[in-house]
């Protein structure tokens, strides 16, 4: 096995980070158009995971995650515009269903793609102000069958969001002084930061591995996707607790951009089964 990102992949990561920072604050349509123009939707699984990590880092508000990792693996093609999919058998919490142009439905007879507008999707208010989650009323019977890529995509997004939390925490504890010293010089703080780092590295490695097994259609791909989703969930649990705690009251405010990364990471764990569900799946 070889497991080192190459120069092109590193460059892609940098490009995504810079592009996302540049279009931040622009109208959502414009952001989305930029992502499409750069061909990110067509990226192969590993590159897609890198893109999603960066979008997670930025707590990106676009429907990219649902389009690339929910719609595409089910429909087997790119949507007209944006897309999402219903593969949980009921359609109670569907990412971006309120705004997707096309929705792929997993039914007993296979996959059907319908226009999003026809599903009477209802956006559900959630804690994360940038996240779109909706409930749909299915036109017929639905069945469950979660694609490996959907789990991997949520894991990659969570990993990126966790890295953002850690970066914000590091910047904060380096500059904030209490008791005459930067907070980051206290060992209780250092050890939490180190544990966050290790948890992120672990989850990221398993996420890249899951993407790689999908890219090579390796027989381990479903197990790898469960591992990635579980590891990302475990990671966000630690990073959320330590990250918010180490910011003190500053982390408890609406103004702080920490909230977006925290909420994105936690939402990625809650959607399509938390860490515990995926650990159980690994045992069966």
């Amino acid at each position: 096995m070889e497991f080192e990102l190459d120069d092109e992949q590193r460059l892609l990561r940098r490009t995504v980070r810079e592009t996302v920072a540049k279009v931040r604050g622009r109208p959502e349509r414009e952001q989305w158009a930029t992502y499409l123009r750069l061909g990110w939707l067509e990226a192969p699984p590993l590159e897609l995971a890198l893109v999603l990590e960066e979008l997670g880092y930025a707590a990106d508000p676009s429907p990219f995650l649902a389009t690339a990792t929910w719609f595409v693996p089910l429909a087997g093609r790119l949507p007209e515009g944006s897309g999402t999919a219903v593969f949980d058998g009921h359609g109670r919490y569907v990412l971006d269903a309120d705004r997707a142009d096309e929705v792929a439905l997993l039914t007993p007879d296979g996959v059907t793609v319908v226009p999003g507008a026809g599903l009477a999707a209802e956006r559900i208010p959630v804690l994360d102000p940038r996240l779109h989650v909706a409930r749909i009323r299915a036109p017929g019977e639905l069945v469950a069958g979660v694609p490996d890529l959907a789990l991997t995509g949520l894991a990659a997004t969570a990993v990126g969001a966790c890295r953002k939390v850690l970066d914000l925490v590091l910047a904060h504890v380096r500059q904030r002084v209490q008791f005459g010293r930067p907070l980051g010089s206290f060992q209780a703080v250092k050890h939490k930061a180190a544990d966050m780092h290790v948890a992120i590295e672990r989850a990221r490695a398993l996420t890249h591995f899951a993407a790689l097994t999908i890219a090579e259609d390796d027989p381990r791909r479903t197990r790898a996707a469960h591992m990635a989703k579980a590891a990302a969930g475990e990671c966000q649990r630690l990073v959320f607790r330590y990250g918010l705690q180490l910011f003190g009251a500053m982390g408890f405010t609406w103004e702080n951009e920490l909230q977006y990364a925290l909420k994105r990471a936690q939402a990625c764990d809650l959607l399509l089964g938390t860490a515990s569900a995926h650990r159980k799946a690994l045992l069966s």
Binding site: R181, G184, A194, R202, F209, A230, L283
Partner: protein, 386 residues
């Protein structure tokens, strides 16, 4: 490059080594005498190590005269993976091979390599590592054992502790203070001290597992005269030797944790009612292997190895604790067998779950504790102030 398959050069290397192992592994009957300590190597194990040395399969990254074949780092990893998969060791004197001989090959003179390193590699002699002292554990740079130059010899006075296998070793790589006036890290030197030298007293003592499990030693050094030519590396540059030798050792050290985790995956399957920890164990093993492979690049930061050590040693401890709890009172009888018989390292598995858990603390304490690894990660990788 990211791919599941080995690079062709690594794949061919792996196949060749696997064939060698199949042809040369010691037979079960031969391997009856067991090692008593980490520097006691029974005759059959010496012959085994010598065979590896002669065929360039002992330390494949080294040139042939040192038991290697100029292998690349990914090939060296494949070599250790093949050994680990079969649960066999290339040497039963791991610190002699991995730390003492490795330091000599990096820092030693040609004479030192011929006089000490090659015999260690050929399993003709064994070695132990004398770093820690009663007052210098994590804070190694505070070590006090003194060495004073007197003509053509150093005279050494002081005490080492925890020196694994010292009572069975022929030579100690010892870190001593040669300049008490210099800043702490600058006044340290590395000396080879043959254990038969007058004034060297070794007292082995039991580990947590058993009073007669003798690997730990106290080593008392009183007026020990050591020839000047036994100085390893330049005078007062022992700190560099210490970091270099441990650094070399650490690059692939994570594999020993991966091996332990793989043992646990095998031995702890299906234990207990709530088995989510067993899934976590499998994830830890997979993540450790992935990160271990990722750390092979030339631009690797040495501090990255701390991530692997912390992740691996803590994962072993967590999983051992879960396996212990799953066993409940069945973990009490001791000794007990919790793993399959393997003739080359049978003692690893003649261990109750209680003992396996207790032994997992060697991983989180020796070679830099988990707390020290967290300090390194926070300060060197994450840039937090000291």
């Amino acid at each position: 490059m990211m791919r599941l398959a080995d690079d062709p050069g690594v794949a061919a290397f792996r196949t060749e080594f696997a064939a060698f192992l199949d042809a040369h592994l010691p037979a079960e009957a031969e391997a009856r005498e067991r090692p008593r300590s980490s520097a006691h190597v029974p005759g059959w194990a010496r012959r085994w190590q010598r065979t590896l040395f002669d065929h360039g399969w002992l330390l494949p990254g080294r040139p042939p005269e040192y038991g290697g074949r100029h292998a690349t780092l990914p090939q060296q990893l494949a070599h250790l993976e093949e050994l680990a998969d079969r649960r066999i060791y290339h040497s039963f004197n791991p610190q002699g091979l991995g730390i003492v001989a490795a330091s000599l090959l990096t820092f030693g003179t040609e004479e030192q390599k011929a006089r000490w390193a090659v015999p260690i590699l050929r399993a003709e002699i064994t070695a132990a590592l004398g770093m820690s002292e009663p007052e210098a554990g994590s804070d190694l740079a505070s070590l006090r054992t003194r060495a004073v130059l007197d003509g053509d010899a150093f005279v050494v006075d002081g005490q080492k502790i925890w020196t694994s296998g010292a009572h069975d070793a022929d030579v100690l790589l010892t870190f001593v203070r040669t300049d008490p006036d210099a800043p702490r890290h600058r006044g340290i030197s590395a000396l080879l001290i043959p254990t038969g030298t007058e004034g060297v007293v070794r007292r082995p003592f039991g580990s947590i597992a058993a009073e007669d499990d003798l690997d730990f030693n106290e080593v008392f050094l009183t007026g020990v005269r050591v020839p000047r030519e036994n100085l390893v590396g330049p005078l007062n540059e022992g700190w560099r030797v210490a970091n270099g030798s441990l650094g070399h050792e650490r690059t692939l050290l994570w594999l020993s944790y991966a091996e332990r985790l793989a043992d646990l995956v095998r031995d702890a399957a299906g234990r207990g009612d709530d088995q989510e920890w067993y899934a976590t164990l499998q994830m830890d093993l997979q993540a450790l292997r992935l990160l271990g492979h990722r750390r092979l690049g030339p631009d690797r930061d040495p501090a990255e190895v701390s991530v692997l050590k912390l992740l691996g040693s803590e994962a072993v401890q967590n999983a051992s604790l879960h396996a212990l709890e799953a066993a409940g009172a069945d973990a009490l009888p001791h000794p007990a067998r919790t793993g399959p018989h393997h003739h080359m390292n049978n003692e690893d598995f003649v261990s109750s779950w209680f003992e396996r858990y207790a032994r997992s603390f060697a991983g989180t304490i020796a070679g830099g504790t988990s707390e020290i690894q967290r300090n390194i990660i926070a300060e060197r990788l994450l840039g937090l102030p000291r």
